[in-house]
Symmetry: C2
Subunit: 146 residues, 2 copies
DNA sequence: AACAAACATCTTGACAGTCAAACAATCACT
DNA sequence: AGTGATTGTTTGACTGTCAAGATGTTTGTT
């Protein structure tokens, strides 16, 4: 049994609206840090990559970010100049670098992560425990689907 | 009663992941149309503005998109060159133009809108009627909150 | 009517983000 | 050792972006 068209249209509209709001929220938060959203995105990916184990090579990072390695080269150049990122030579492959956050970069990442947690906290504050649990479960399903 | 920290962190992570997936989905879809995401975003805002009644002035459109009018000028220039948008002089204010989709622009907008509906359909296909209803209600709350 | 202030848009100059293609160094395999 | 694949960088061209200045229009005040 398929949901009626109007319900689909409504949900589609809501998803777009949620996306837009998250987008402008992120833009506001990032602007206050002095970085661009693309730069902060890089910091976030590198930061999360570090949590999940090892530092990333340029190529892996580029793939995760959906940009070419050429684009990433200048991006990393600038973040390295700002003391947020550093290249360290790969131990066994001399073509590659491992990209990691400096201490300054880690602090920035942690601070930005806190912003995310605070927003999520605001969101959950208006949901009941059941709503929150179901919302999380539904998100899980959707993320696996897309 | 506040939700425990780990739940917040989990939900925060899910929201980021959803955002990323929607982002790359949109990028893929838009790329196939030959436009940039910024251009498609312009088409979408103008298209939705038209549904909601009147065409928009440059300034109103710039505000909705979160860019300056200077940025929008060249954006509209290019979309006009491609025959997707047109400026028509404002009836009573000779400083202003009203920006609207051409027929070609409307077709593109409709086509893109269909992509959104199809994605939403895929999403709802894996949700029960109750889940879908609650998800929509939760989104409603969240959108109002952010 | 005349003027000034506010306004809408466009233009210019500067820079970040982006890609494709060419390049250089290194690796992996035979 | 040699050849083809891989990794990262460089280059050239273009879009997206803003701030600041320019132009023409409207609005309000005298």
């Amino acid at each position: 049994m398929r949901a009626p068209m109007s319900e689909i249209a409504k949900l589609s509209h809501q998803l777009v609206e949620l996306y837009e709001k998250l987008s402008s929220w992120e833009q506001d938060v990032v602007k206050s840090s002095g970085l661009s959203t693309a730069q902060m995105h890089t910091i976030e990916i590198v930061g999360h990559g570090a949590q999940g184990g090892g530092a990333l090579r340029m190529k892996e990072l580029a793939k995760k970010m959906g940009v070419t390695t050429g684009t990433l080269t200048v991006m990393v150049d600038r973040l390295e100049q700002q003391g947020l990122l550093q290249r360290t030579p790969h131990e066994t492959d001399r073509r590659s670098y491992l990209i990691a956050l400096t201490e300054k970069g880690q602090n920035l990442f942690a601070e930005h992560h806190q912003y995310h947690l605070r927003l999520t906290e605001e969101i959950t504050a208006i949901l009941s425990a059941e709503e929150q649990a179901l919302f999380s479960a539904v998100l899980e399903k959707i993320i696996g689907q897309i």
